[in-house]
C-alpha cells in the first residue's frame, strides 16, 4: 500500500502515508514516543508546503526524510540522551527472536503493527482511541480535541501519557505472536468500534465542528480488513459500521431530534454502503467462525434489507440475538432480544422477559429497561403504564436527544389520555 491512490486529495494521501512513515521511523529509531512527534511535525510541514509547492514525486520518501531529520535533531538533544541512558539501564526485552521477525515484516504491515500498538491493553480506552486517531489516523491533536470536546492541552497530555505508557511497557514493534493475536486483535476492533460510535452518536444536533469520526473509523477498519481479509470479525466490524452508518441520514430530523428505526424514511438510507455491507456479511458468515461483530452486522443487515419497517424479518433477528446473547452475556443484548421476542411472539412475551431481566438486577435501574418496557406496554395497550415508564426512562437517561425523544413519547400518550 505504498503507492498513493490516484485522485486522492493531499489530505487523504497524508492520512494514508502517516502510519507507514511512522512505522518506518519507529523501526529505525526504536522510540515510539519521539518518532510519533517527529512524524507529526513532518505531516504538518507537508500540509503547509505541498499545497504551495506541489506534492513531491515520492511523498512517502519526502515524509520519511523530514521525520528522520527531526529524529536526528532530537537524538542529539539532552532529553534524548537521558532517555537513552534510562533505557540502557533497564534489562533488555525478553524476546531474542523479535529482531528476526522484524526483518521479515514488510512495509505494508506497518499500519497494522501500529494499530496493535496504539490499542494495547495497557492503555485506557480513551487513551487508545486518542493515540490511534493521531498515530494511525494522522489527525492533529487539535482535531482530536475538538472531536471529543476537550481542550487541546488536555488531549495533548492524554496522547503524551499514552505514548509514555507504550514506551514503558516496551511492546516491541512487530506483529503480535500467535498466542497474543486473538486478544490484541479484540482490543484493536474494540477501539475502532468506540471511535465509530463516538462519531455516529454525536452526528446530529450541536456537533457541527466535530471531525468525521465515524468516517475515520470506517477508513481505518477498511485498511485493517485489506490487510487481514480472512479475519471474519474484522470483516464483521466493517460491515456493522457500513450498515449502521448507511442509516445516518434518516436518523435525525430537521431539528436534530432522533427518529427511531421504524419511523425512518428508508429512501434516505445510503444504498452503496448497504450493498457493500451486505456483500461483506454474506461473504463472511458462511466461513463458520461467527463472532459478536458479525452477528451485530447480520442483525443490521436484516433491518437494512427490509423495504418497510413492517416487512422486517423479526424471526431472523430473534434467532441472531439468541446466538449473540449466548455469546456475549451483555444485558443490553438481552434487552434488544426482548424487543425481538415481542415482535415475534407478542408484547406479553417480551414483557415477561423484561421482568426476568429486571429480577436479574444488572439492568434494574437502567433507563433503557424503562424505555423498552414503555414501548412494549404501549404495544400491549397499557397506555397509562407506558406513559409512566417513558417518564421514568426520560428521568434517568444521560443523553439529551434521547431524553427529548422519551419526553415526546410520554407527551403523545398524555394527550391521548386526555382526549
Amino acid at each position: 500500500m505504498t503507492a498513493p491512490n490516484p485522485g486522492a486529495s493531499a489530505e487523504d494521501l497524508l492520512r494514508e502515508l502517516a502510519p507507514q512513515v511512522l512505522g518506518s521511523t519507529i523501526r529505525r529509531f526504536k522510540d515510539f514516543a519521539a518518532a510519533e512527534d517527529a512524524v507529526q511535525e513532518a505531516l504538518v510541514a507537508a500540509s503547509m508546503q505541498w499545497p504551495k509547492e506541489g506534492v513531491p514525486d515520492n511523498p512517502r520518501g519526502w515524509l520519511i526524510h523530514v521525520a528522520t531529520r527531526r529524529m536526528t535533531d532530537y537524538m542529539r538533544s539532552d532529553t534524548a540522551r537521558r532517555d537513552r541512558e534510562e533505557l540502557a539501564a533497564r534489562p533488555a526485552a525478553g524476546d531474542p527472536w523479535s529482531r528476526f521477525r522484524d526483518m521479515g515484516t514488510t512495509e505494508r504491515d506497518d499500519t497494522l503493527i501500529l494499530l496493535f500498538m496504539c490499542c494495547h491493553s495497557a492503555l485506557t480506552h480513551s487513551s487508545a482511541v486518542a493515540l490511534t486517531l493521531r498515530a494511525v489516523g494522522g489527525l492533529t491533536t487539535a482535531e482530536i480535541a475538538s472531536a471529543f470536546l476537550v481542550p487541546e492541552s488536555t488531549m495533548a497530555q492524554r496522547i503524551s501519557r499514552a505514548k509514555q505508557t507504550i514506551k514503558s511497557s516496551r511492546v516491541p514493534f512487530r506483529m503480535p505472536t500467535k498466542r497474543e493475536h486473538a486478544q490484541r486483535l479484540a482490543s484493536v476492533l474494540h477501539t475502532l468500534y468506540l471511535i465509530f460510535n463516538e462519531g455516529y452518536t454525536s452526528s446530529g444536533g450541536t456537533a457541527l465542528h466535530r471531525v468525521e469520526l465515524s468516517r475515520e473509523a470506517i477508513r481505518l477498519t477498511r485498511a485493517m480488513h485489506r490487510r487481514l481479509p480472512d479475519d471474519p470479525e474484522t470483516a464483521g466490524l466493517l460491515a456493522l459500521m457500513l450498515l449502521t452508518d448507511a442509516r445516518r441520514p434518516a436518523r435525525t430530523g430537521a431539528d436534530g431530534e432522533l427518529i427511531p428505526l421504524d419511523k425512518q424514511d428508508r429512501q434516505l438510507w445510503d444504498r452503496n454502503a448497504i450493498t457493500e455491507g451486505l456483500a461483506l456479511v454474506s461473504r463472511t458468515l458462511p466461513k463458520g467462525s461467527v463472532g459478536p461483530y458479525q452477528l451485530q452486522a447480520a442483525i443490521a443487515a436484516v433491518h437494512d434489507e427490509a423495504p418497510t419497517a413492517g416487512e422486517t424479518d423479526w424471526p431472523q433477528i430473534l434467532a441472531l440475538y439468541t446466538v449473540l446473547e449466548r455469546m456475549s452475556h451483555n444485558p443490553m443484548v438481552s434487552l434488544n432480544r426482548a424487543i425481538a421476542v415481542a415482535m415475534v411472539h407478542g408484547p406479553a412475551a417480551g414483557l415477561d422477559l423484561l421482568d426476568q431481566l429486571a429480577a436479574g438486577g444488572e439492568l434494574a435501574a437502567h433507563h433503557r429497561l424503562d424505555a423498552v418496557r414503555a414501548h412494549l406496554l404501549e404495544k400491549a395497550g397499557d397506555l397509562a403504564g407506558a406513559l409512566a415508564h417513558y417518564r421514568a426512562a426520560a428521568a434517568r437517561t444521560t443523553s439529551i436527544p434521547e431524553r427529548d425523544y422519551l419526553i415526546s413519547q410520554a407527551a403523545r400518550l398524555d394527550v391521548g389520555n386526555q382526549a
Binding site: T124, S127, V150, T154, Q157, R158, E198, N336, Y405
Partner: protein, 132 residues
C-alpha cells in the same frame, strides 16, 4: 464520560469564609487548588475549571414582560451554601469522578485541616446510544 464537580462552600455573610483565613492558610489553599487542577490537566482529564466571584457579587436575573432583564441583588439569605467553583472532567468511569471529587473535598482550610467541602458530582449529558 464527562462530569461537573461543583464545589459548594458555606456562604458566610455574603463573602467566602476564606476571606478571614490567616494569610498562610489561604496561600496553602490556593497552592493546593492550583496543583490539583494542574494534575487533572496533566492526566488528560481536565475539560474546564473556574472559580466564581463571591456570592455578594451574585445577581439573579429574570426577564420582565418586555424581555428586559430584572436584576436582583444578593445576598440570598435562603442559601446556606454557594457554588464557589467547578471542574468539568472527562474520565473513564463514575468511580474516577468520585475519586477526583474526594480530592477536591479534602482541600486544606485553616491550620491545614481538610475542609471536607461538599462536592456535587453531576454527569454531563452525552450523545444518544447507537440504537434506540
Amino acid at each position: 464520560m464527562k462530569y461537573m464537580l461543583m464545589m459548594n462552600a458555606p456562604r458566610g455573610t455574603g463573602d467566602w469564609g476564606v476571606m478571614k483565613w490567616p494569610a498562610e492558610d489561604l496561600k496553602a489553599h490556593i497552592a493546593f487548588m492550583k496543583r490539583f487542577t494542574k494534575a487533572l490537566g496533566d492526566a488528560g482529564e481536565l475539560v474546564a475549571a473556574e472559580g466564581l466571584a463571591p456570592p455578594a457579587q451574585a445577581r439573579v436575573v429574570r426577564a420582565q414582560a418586555n424581555g428586559a432583564p430584572a436584576v436582583t441583588d444578593g445576598p440570598f439569605a435562603e442559601a446556606k451554601e454557594f457554588l464557589a467553583g467547578y471542574w468539568i472532567v472527562d474520565v473513564e468511569s463514575p468511580a474516577r469522578a468520585y475519586e477526583i471529587a474526594a480530592g477536591a473535598s479534602a482541600a486544606p482550610g485553616v491550620g491545614g485541616k481538610p475542609l471536607n467541602m461538599a462536592i456535587e458530582v453531576r454527569e454531563v449529558m452525552s450523545p444518544p446510544p447507537v440504537e434506540m
